[in-house]
């Protein structure tokens, strides 16, 4: 089993492909792999509670570790109290830690 780190820089409103990446993350997780989805840039717009179009909750329910860049959240005025349940606020350095630990990484 491997570990996968996906950077999601886009949001569900601008790109339908975001849902595809969520599906891939869920599929890999269900196959037994470790999967982290790190939301950066406008990807964090999907993390606000009440975003109906987001499939993040499905990814979280499947066991995907969903993190959101604290820097991008602050830039967009998304406070921790407004995040969808299960989304973890993280510094970008945490992603570097996963890279250094050998997680297979891809940027979207």
């Amino acid at each position: 089993m491997a570990n996968y780190l996906f950077f999601e820089s886009r949001d569900v409103f601008e790109s339908n492909d975001v849902q595809r990446l969520c599906e891939l993350a869920i599929q890999l997780r269900r196959a037994g792999h470790g999967v982290a989805l790190f939301l950066v840039q406008n990807g964090t717009l999907s993390a606000r509670a009440g975003v109906a179009a987001s499939r993040l909750h499905q990814a979280i329910a499947a066991g995907v570790h969903v993190l959101a860049d604290e820097f991008a959240l602050a830039e967009r005025g998304i406070g921790t109290e407004r995040l969808a349940g299960g989304v973890e606020v993280a510094p970008l350095g945490e992603a570097v830690g996963l890279l250094a630990a050998g997680w297979k990484a891809a940027w979207h």
């Binding site: 949001d11 409103f13 601008e14 840039q41 406008n42 717009l45 606000r48 509670a49 009440g50 975003v51 109906a52 179009a53 820097f71 602050a74 830039e75 967009r76 005025g77 998304i78 406070g79 407004r82």
Partner: protein, 126 residues
């Protein structure tokens, strides 16, 4: 003739520019005497969020002196008399509430955008 600046994309290179380029352009042209209005739609509705607070960048030994201050830029635009409209459906779809938005911005329904467009002599969709 009044120009409607329609802004859809958001946070594109705002750190390198220390600004949103179209909000900046709008301010520069208004300062030169232009009559303008702004319509924020799609992800750009988030520019109306009061709580935006971009941290200063630190890259290696370099430290940013002035991070982007989009909320302040928008407040300045509103204060200068430029009407700023925000598409309500786009804000709601992104989980925004009316209380999240800056004072002085006008929420418009998607169905009212055509009228807004028709009322302006020029429409620049960025």
């Amino acid at each position: 003739m009044e120009t409607l600046q329609v802004i859809s994309g958001a946070y594109r290179a705002t750190y390198e520019e220390q600004d949103d380029t179209i909000l900046w352009l709008t301010q520069a042209m208004v300062a030169a005497g232009a009559r303008m209005a702004v319509l924020l739609r799609c992800n750009a509705v988030n520019y109306a969020v009061r709580a935006q607070q971009a941290p200063a960048l630190a890259i290696g030994t370099w430290q940013q002196a002035h991070p982007p201050a989009i909320a302040a830029d928008l407040a300045r635009i509103v204060a200068s008399g430029v009407p700023v409209h925000v598409v309500r459906e786009d804000a709601e779809a992104r989980g925004l509430r009316a209380g999240d938005l800056a004072e002085g911005v006008h929420l418009v329904r998607q169905g009212e955008v055509a009228d807004l467009v028709a009322r302006h002599g020029r429409v620049w969709m960025w």
